[in-house]
Amino acid sequence: MKRAAFGHIGFPILLLIPQLAIIAIFFYWPAGYAIQSSFYLEDPFGFGSTFVGMENYTRLARSSNYMSSAWFTLIFTCLVTFFALAIALLLAVKADKVIRGARTYRTLLMWVYAIAPPVAGLIGVMLFDQSRGNITQLLGMMGIEFRLGVNYWDTATAMISVSIWKQIPVNFIFFLSGLQAIPRSVREAAMIDNRSGTRRFWDITFPLLAPTGFFLLIINITYSLFDTFGIVDTIVKGEPGNNPMTLVYRVFVDGFRGQDLGGSSAQSVVLMVLVLILTIVQFRFLERRIHYT
C-alpha cells in the first residue's frame, strides 16, 4: 500500500469485486469441493456418497498404478528439468557471447514457446510413429527398434523429448536476460583477474546466474508437472492402457474415465500440497535473495 493512498472505501471494493467473485466461484468453490469429496466415496450412479475418512488416501498409497505414476512423474520431472535447463544454458551462454547475429539467434530459439503443447505432441507422434515416423526409421537404421505406444520406455522417451524441446525456449529467454543483466564492468574485471574461461564461468557467471537458475528450476518443475498435460495426452493418444503417465494426467483419467470422484479428488489434494511446498521453497529463497541484493 502506498503512503499517499486514497481513503475511499466503496470504490476499491467495487474494483476488487470482479476478481474476488471469479476466484470465489471458480477457485475456492471447486478447491473446497475437492478437499471435501476426497473424504467421501461417491456412488458412480449418483446415489449419494458415504464418508470414508482417509480411505481414498490410503487407497492411493496402496495403488500400484498410482505409485508407478508417481515414480514416472519423478523421473520425468528430473529428466525434463535437467536437459531443458542444461541445453538452454549452453545456448544462452553462446548467444550472449556472439556479437554477430545475436538477435537472429534469439528469434530462432524462442519462437517454439508459442506452440501449444498438444501441437508439439502431434509433431512428436508423427516423428516417433511406430511404422512411418522419421525418427523411428532413423533409429531402425541404427538397429534400435522403437515402438511408441507399445513399449513403456519408448513412449516415455518420446514424451520426455517433446517436453524438453517445448521448454528450451522459455529457459533460454530467462538465461539470456540473466546473462545480459551481468554488468560489463564485472565481466571486464573478471577478464583481467582470470584468463581461464572455465574458472570465470564457474566463479563469476554461474553464481550471478544462480537466482535465475533457481527460479527456473521451480518453473521447470511446475511445467513438468502441469503444463505437459497436452503432450502426454496426445502421445498416449487418449488411450492410457499401460502407457506411462504423469500424476496430473492420472487425476484426469481416474476422474473422467474411471468416474472415481473421491480418488481423483484425493489426488488433487496431494498435488495441491506438492505445489504448496514448491511455493514455500520459492518464497523462502526469494526472501533471502532480497536481503543481499
Binding site: 500500500m1 503512503r3 499517499a4 493512498a5 486514497f6 481513503g7 475511499h8 472505501i9 470504490f11 476499491p12 471494493i13 474494483l15 476488487l16 476478481q19 471469479i22 476466484i23 466461484i25 471458480f26 468453490w29 471447486p30 469441493y33 475437492a34 545456448l91 551462454v93 530462432l108 530459439l109 524462442m110 519462437w111 517454439v112 508459442a114 506452440i115 501449444a116 503443447p117 498438444p118 509433431i123 508423427m126 516423428l127 512411418r132 524441446w165 525456449p169 529467454i173 536476460s177 574461461g197 572455465t198 570465470r200 564461468f201 564457474w202 527460479f215 511446475t222 498435460f229 497436452g230 496426445t234 487418449g238 487425476v251 484426469f252 473422467f256 479428488s265 488433487s268 505445489v275 511455493t279
Partner: protein, 305 residues
C-alpha cells in the same frame, strides 16, 4: 552437463584471449556459431517438416512418413483444413475453430488484464482494512492450477449450466491471479510523487487510474496481453472438457480430434490435412511472439520476479 559447460568455457577462453593475432581464424567463434545453429535447427526442423508434409497427399505420407520436400497438394490440404466441415456432426471447419481460438485468446487476455489491473489498483492505492486479506486470498490462487482442480471445476460449471458456452470456456481460466500480481508489482514501482501531484491537482481515484496509471502502464499491458493471448490460445484441457458441442471447438481442441483418428486406425488419416491444421493452429501465436518479441521477453522476464 560436464560436457556441455566444457565446450562453452573452452571456446570462451579462446575467443577472449587478448594476445591472439587478429587475422587468425577464431575457432572458438566458429564453435559458438555451430552450437547456436545446431540449437536453431533443433527448434526449426520438426516444424519445417510439418509444414512440408502439409503439402503432400495422405498416401505418400502414410507410406514414407513426414516429408522434407514439397508436394503439390498445398492448396487442396489447406482448403480442406479450413473449409471442409468435419467432426462427428459435420458442424465444424477450420475457420470456425480459428474464430473460437481467437475469441478464447482475446477474451482471456482482455478479461484477465482488466480484472487484474482493477484488483491491483485497489490493493496498492487504497487504505483498505482488508487489503492484506484480499491479497492473500488472491495469492492462494497461484497455488492450484486448473489442471489440479479439474474435476470439481467441471462439476461447478455443469451445475451452473455453463458447459458449451464462451463464458464457461473463458471465465474459469481467469480465476488465477498471475496478472494481478504482475500489475501489483508494477504499480508499486511507480513513484509516489505521482499520486501526490495528482491529488494536489484534484484528481480523484477514477481520473488518476484512467488518465495517469493506464497510460503509464501501456508497455506492461502490451507485454501482458501478448503472453496471456498465447496462453489462452494454447489452452487444451479446459476446452476439451467444457466443449462437447463441436461448433465451439478451438484449433488446439481440434488437434485432439486428429489424434483420435490416428488412434482408431480404421482408415488412413488425412496426414497432409492434419499437418495443415497444426500449422494453422500454431501460426497466430508464433507470429505474435516473433513480431513482438521484445515486449514478450520484457513481460515474461519481469512478471515472475
Amino acid at each position: 552437463m560436464a560436457d556441455i559447460t566444457d565446450t562453452s568455457t573452452r571456446s570462451a577462453a579462446q575467443s577472449a584471449a587478448p594476445t591472439r593475432p587478429a587475422k587468425r581464424i577464431r575457432w572458438g567463434d566458429i564453435g559458438d556459431h555451430a552450437i547456436l545453429i545446431a540449437g536453431a535447427l533443433l527448434m526449426l526442423v520438426p516444424v519445417y517438416m510439418v509444414f512440408a508434409t502439409s503439402s503432400w497427399d495422405a498416401i505418400t505420407v502414410h507410406r514414407q512418413g513426414m516429408q522434407f520436400g514439397f508436394g503439390d497438394q498445398f492448396g487442396v490440404n489447406y482448403d480442406a483444413a479450413l473449409f471442409e466441415y468435419g467432426g462427428f456432426t459435420d458442424s465444424v471447419n477450420g475457420v470456425t475453430m480459428l474464430a473460437n481460438s481467437m475469441i478464447l485468446g482475446l477474451g482471456f487476455a482482455i478479461g484477465k488484464i482488466i480484472v487484474g489491473m482493477m484488483a491491483a489498483y485497489a490493493i496498492v492505492y487504497f487504505r483498505l482494512k482488508f487489503a492484506t486479506l484480499a491479497f492473500w486470498m488472491i495469492f492462494t490462487t497461484l497455488l492450484l492450477p486448473l489442471e489440479v482442480r479439474i474435476l470439481p471445476s467441471y462439476e461447478v460449471i455443469t451445475w451452473m449450466n455453463l458447459g458449451n458456452t464462451y463464458t464457461g470456456l473463458i471465465v474459469p481460466l481467469i480465476a488465477s491471479a498471475t496478472a494481478t500480481f504482475f500489475f501489483r508489482q508494477y504499480f508499486r514501482s511507480i513513484p509516489e510523487e505521482l499520486i501526490e501531484a495528482a491529488r494536489i491537482d484534484g484528481a480523484g481515484p477514477v481520473k488518476f487510474f484512467i488518465d495517469i496509471l493506464v497510460p503509464l502502464s501501456k508497455t506492461m499491458i502490451a507485454a501482458m496481453f501478448i503472453i496471456m493471448f498465447v496462453f489462452g490460445w494454447n489452452q487444451y484441457l479446459w476446452p476439451t472438457l467444457i466443449t462437447t458441442d463441436e461448433s465451439l471447438f478451438t484449433l488446439v481442441r481440434g488437434i485432439r480430434q486428429i489424434i483420435q483418428s490416428y488412434a482408431d486406425g480404421s482408415e488412413t488419416p488425412d496426414y497432409g490435412q492434419a499437418a495443415a491444421l497444426a500449422i494453422i493452429a500454431m501460426t497466430p501465436p508464433v507470429l505474435i511472439v516473433v513480431f513482438f518479441q521484445s515486449w514478450f521477453v520484457k513481460g515474461l522476464t519481469e512478471s515472475d520476479k
